[in-house]
Symmetry: C2
């Protein structure tokens, strides 16, 4: 969408700092209890649980320092929009709240307000993984000086991409193995967790993945030839093996 | 220092959100393993460890959203300064890094770079508890449109207040009980932790508390009669029972 690529890289780093913090905390024994991540021992395996908590906290905090730094964008108003997009996408109304609902769906907390069946799975997905993907896309649009119509198109694209990402993740969890994934496989089925695959079956989930991918493509139609990378991301997600 | 009190209250809330997140994470079994805080069960006791991690994450994230909101200050540049002060005071170079060093001092990680004796205790204090107090004071000065000289005075005051706070905390840990503190007492001695009391003795720590309090008073001399609350805080800390 145009805009300064050095600033966009810094904003991308802030998103990745939040993403990494969420993985370090998710891997803790208190949460998903994973020993491996990206083919390497998780932080708490390498050190201890306290270090896992603190490393995550430090990464999250650094993300906002990076965004607020003048080098991310000359416009102060724009840097503040980035801070708010990231905070809202990753906080209680987004990623963290989604993770809470996900644990509630596993039966760890009362989940009175969680819709049953696919609606619940979609709600959790839209918050737990979707909201950060959406924030990342919207932050790019902010830095690209997107007008309201382009922002709406990017937002609709991001919602579809987030959904496609989660469906693909659920498919890989049943179709892949730990060596390919760089993390444990089959964990969802083991935990008896409702996923797009458990709800729709493998064929049904693949059809939903195709539909979400097409929906993302359609949303990009309003943006035009600038949207090459965004198209590529949909294809990358559809084909990814880990 | 003047400035809008509604905005200052929001900035204060952001500091308190960070403070609360740090307590929720510190209380986790992976860290200090405390069952009580402010006379009530800690978050992980009431729910579970995962909820303790997630509640802390949500509080931390919300702090930056609150600061970036227009209602905190009309000036975008000023809101960004608040974001950076809080991120730097609470992140790896401040509170979180100080907590890592504190655990290293307990022997949980290699602490090759930690100075021995009082210098190490002062370094940990200045990061673990001092940096957030300092950020809070500096944020107030930012919102009060402080000039460079006033900012220097506030900063020197905040460093002294942070030191006085930690010495008082160390004294309370040996002189008070759980009912008064609202949390467990005697934990430092039990953990064999170096504190101002273990290094200087009770009488020596009290003398250092007096000296730090006087140092804070001296720093305020440059600010004048506006500094009433800041004076009061030094007195409050000196006399507090919990």
């Amino acid at each position: 969408l145009g805009g300064d690529s050095a600033g966009a890289l810094r904003a991308g780093c802030a998103v990745e700092l939040v993403h990494c913090y969420s993985l370090v905390h998710d891997d803790l024994p208190a949460m998903d209890d994973d020993d491996m991540r990206r083919g390497k021992p998780t932080v708490h395996k390498l050190h201890d649980d306290a270090m896992g908590v603190l490393v995550g906290d430090a990464l999250l905090t650094l993300a906002f320092d990076v965004l607020a730094d003048r080098r991310t964008a000359p416009s102060a108003a724009r840097r503040l929009r980035l801070v708010r997009e990231l905070a809202q996408g990753s906080g209680l109304g987004g990623m963290v709240g989604g993770q809470m609902l996900d644990l509630a769906a596993e039966g760890r907390y009362p989940a009175a307000h969680l819709p049953a069946g696919e609606a619940g799975v979609v709600l959790i997905q839209s918050m737990k993984t979707g909201a950060l993907i959406r924030a990342a896309c919207r932050m790019g649009a902010v830095l690209g000086s997107a007008n309201a119509a382009t922002m709406r198109a990017v937002d609709a694209y991001a919602v579809a991409l987030g959904l496609a990402f989660q469906i693909k993740d659920d498919l890989l969890d049943v179709e892949s193995d730990a060596a390919t994934l760089g993390k444990a496989a089959g964990k969802d089925a083991e935990a008896g967790k409702a996923t797009f695959v458990s709800l729709l079956g493998v064929a049904g989930a693949k059809a939903r993945l195709d539909a979400a991918t097409r929906e993302g493509e359609r949303a990009l139609a309003g943006i035009g030839p600038q949207a090459g990378w965004l198209h590529a991301l949909l294809g990358f997600n559809h084909a990814r093996k880990s």
